[in-house]
């Protein structure tokens, strides 16, 4: 099920590519999907004339008008609630929640309408919404602008959660999310919005929404990670004295359990790297799955190189909160050095 990346250019058979960064990939995808399907509409505050506080929707209002790029009142609950209604009417809405940490006022509509309508109607009504949320820390913004609280949504049935780690991934996953008939929470790692460009096929393409991605093959230890942390995991892999396999979880819900277990069974060691707080962050579930289904292959306990169990701290110490190459490296070394 897994897919290796970076794929050689020939892999995606793309005659034409654009050298673009992650936020531009998001922008291009929205543009292409809106061009392709009239029922795709964007909603959110500050997505219109200003093109989003990170410019992810730049230019789209001009191109598609204000009934397709809908600037709303400042209410997250109102955005999700009306977006669900539009979806019930057959639209394919892509609401933006400016920051993941501002999704909480919408928790009511998310729980009661977004993730439940399909089940409540016995499959009669689909809600094919893709909720875009910028997430993650390290940008010296205040309080809730820096959070990674995907765990709330991973414990919730009825919604998929997807997170890209590169421009190529962003385009393929966002295209697939918009086209999918389930609600999808699309996490955008804002720290790497402009964190480097790569050639991305100009043509539209999709990537699977239920498959982890093998970033780097290795025999000694598996690192499970996603989003803005992938780069740290890869950097750490290159400096430690071990043959590290890096798996980009990519589809956080549902999890690609096969790929995850396969990798850990092979290496016998596992480290999880994520920005979220540790207690009941996704690392907990990954560790539990490994425990439950690969215990006899484990050569060491699973270690979690994560954020701490605290509110996201102020600027002066945010870097001490966030996992980085060094923290990933320590975790890898710890499990490599473990002896029963």
């Amino acid at each position: 099920m897994s897919e290796t990346y970076p794929a050689p250019a020939s892999d995606h058979d793309a005659d034409e590519t654009d050298e673009i960064d992650l936020v531009t990939a998001v922008n291009q995808t929205l543009d292409q999907e809106m061009a392709r399907n009239d029922s795709v509409r964007l909603m959110g505050y500050d997505i219109g004339p200003i093109g989003g506080v990170y410019r992810a929707t730049e230019g789209l209002l001009e191109e598609y008008g204000n009934e397709r790029v809908i600037d709303t009142p400042l209410s997250e609950n109102g955005i999700i609630g009306t977006a669900v209604g539009m979806a019930m009417a057959g639209e394919r809405v892509v609401p933006e929640i400016q920051f993941m940490g501002f999704s909480y006022p919408a928790f009511g509509q998310i729980m009661y309408a977004l993730v439940k309508m399909y089940d409540r109607t016995g499959g009669d009504i689909e809600v094919p919404l893709t909720v875009r949320m910028a997430y993650g820390g390290g940008v010296k913004a205040l309080e809730y602008h820096q959070e990674s609280t995907e765990a709330y949504y991973l414990h919730t049935p009825g919604i998929r959660v997807v997170c890209p780690s590169t421009p190529y991934q962003a385009k393929g996953l966002l295209t697939a999310s918009i086209r999918h008939d389930d609600p999808v929470l699309f996490m955008e790692p804002k720290k790497i919005y402009r964190g480097g460009s790569q050639p991305v096929p100009t043509e539209e393409y999709t990537l699977p929404l239920d498959a982890a991605r093998l970033v780097r093959e290795g025999e000694d230890v598996t690192v499970l990670t996603w989003g803005a942390m992938v780069r740290h995991a890869v950097a750490a892999s290159e400096t430690v004295d071990a043959d590290v396999e890096v798996v980009d979880i990519r589809s956080l819900s549902p999890l690609d359990v096969e790929t995850i277990l396969e990798s850990v069974k092979k290496t016998g060691r596992c480290v999880v790297v994520h920005e979220a707080r540790r207690t009941l962050g996704l690392g907990a579930e990954l560790s539990a799955l490994v425990n439950e289904y690969a215990l006899d292959r484990l050569k060491a306990p699973v270690k979690r190189a994560t954020g701490y169990d605290v509110h996201f701290p102020s600027h002066d110490i945010e870097d001490d909160y966030l996992p980085d190459e060094e923290r990933a490296q320590y975790a890898i070394e710890a499990v490599m050095n473990y002896e029963f």
Binding site: G78, G81, V84, M86, A87, A113, Y118, R120, P254, A294
Partner: protein, 377 residues
């Protein structure tokens, strides 16, 4: 015992039919069939709800909420719609469902606690001409969804109108605020009806809001509003028709407060004697009963007589009996159905847990997979 003192809502709501069934002003332009269809809906609602109450008492149904004494509100509003319009409702609008011939057996089966897909598969019923949202448990939520749906209709130049019902208590939820606010900004074709029965479980409406009237809430959003006697089916219908027409003509949303009174318990798990002494108001509202009032009018207009009333009741009784019989045939769901409509496809966790559940049902240990590869040992 501490009880709430009730306050009377301010006078001045729009009324056509007085408490004695006398019409003030022009008779509505409704032919006898239509007049009788509305009558039948009220009778059917009471008959069905009383039957369900009995089923609840005998343990067959789980929780029953009745609209007794409030029927004119959902009925008059729903009757203002046209085929292909949408209704978002709660547990308090059975008359709206029955008017549009929502399958009675589905209502009963739903109350008996089956999964919606089990009901759908076992009752081969027709879709009503008007679209119905599902009934949601969390209150207020549907108002925002209804406004969103109407926004889509506006953007798509559709002619359909969306109507949503909200209780007086539920206007306190943030989702109601969002619904009204988005309606004011986007001006979609939506009619938001506040069925103000003056109670939210144990709380009187003067504990919900300091507003003079619920209708006035619309001022905060620039949404046109009306206030009407919710027990007067003509006044409700006329007001709703105007709102629906406005919506259909592209002139945007309307908020309608229908003033009525919850005569009975909130639902079967509630006992209002504990918290309200309604002896005084109750009598007043008994006099304003929407069915009695309407029936008097129909009889005076010679649309209805004893024979016809008996026929209607007999017909309704039969329909209810058939619905209950059909609902009773709906089997319990297969336990595995709980996995069916979470997301499309069957991810690993669902496949695995479903297998666990099946093993458990078969008396096999569901926890014997230690590799993640399945149970065939």
């Amino acid at each position: 015992m501490v009880e709430w003192t009730e306050r009377r809502p301010p006078e001045g709501e729009y009324r056509m039919l007085d408490a004695d069934g006398q019409l003030d002003g022009d008779p509505p332009e409704l032919d006898d069939d239509e007049l009788l269809a509305m009558y039948r809906t009220m009778v059917a609602t009471r008959t069905l709800e009383d039957k369900m109450l009995n089923m609840q008492r005998s343990g067959e149904a789980s929780l029953v909420a009745r609209s007794r004494g409030e029927e004119a509100t959902p009925l008059g509003c729903a009757a203002a719609l046209a085929p292909d319009d949408w209704i978002f409702y709660t547990y308090r609008q059975n008359p709206a469902l029955l008017y549009w011939e929502y399958p009675m057996a589905e209502i009963v089966a739903g109350d008996m606690g089956a999964e919606p897909q089990t009901v759908a598969e076992h009752l081969d019923t027709d879709e009503p001409d008007v679209n119905f949202s599902p009934d949601y448990t969390p209150v207020g939520v549907n108002t925002t969804n209804a406004v969103g749906m109407a926004m889509a209709d506006k953007f798509n130049d559709n002619e359909t109108v969306t109507m949503v019902f909200v209780g007086d208590g539920s206007t306190s939820e943030g989702s109601f605020h969002d619904a009204m606010n988005f309606a004011g900004v986007f001006e979609p074709p939506v009619v938001i009806v506040c069925q103000n029965n003056q109670w939210a479980i144990s709380e009187p409406s003067h504990r919900q809001t300091g507003a003079e009237t619920f209708a006035k809430k619309a001022e905060a959003y620039g949404v046109p509003h009306e206030r009407v006697d919710g027990n007067d089916v003509f006044a409700v219908r006329e007001t709703a028709e105007e709102a629906v027409e406005r919506a259909r003509n592209g002139d945007g949303p309307t908020f309608i407060e229908c003033v009525t009174y919850r005569m009975e318990e909130h639902n079967t798990s509630d006992n209002p004697d504990v918290y309200r002494d309604d002896s005084e108001q109750r009598d007043e509202w008994e006099e304003k009963d929407p069915l009695a009032r309407y029936e008097t009018y129909l009889r005076e207009e010679d649309v209805l007589d004893d024979d016809l009333a008996d026929d209607v009741q007999a017909d309704v009784d039969e329909q209810v009996s058939e619905a209950v019989a059909a609902a009773r045939e709906v089997p319990d769901s297969e336990p595995e159905r709980m996995f069916d409509y979470q997301i499309h496809d069957t991810p690993w966790n669902h496949a695995h847990q479903r297998a666990e559940l099946e093993r458990e049902q078969n008396g096999e240990n569901p926890f014997t997979d230690f590799t993640g590869e399945g149970f065939d040992e």
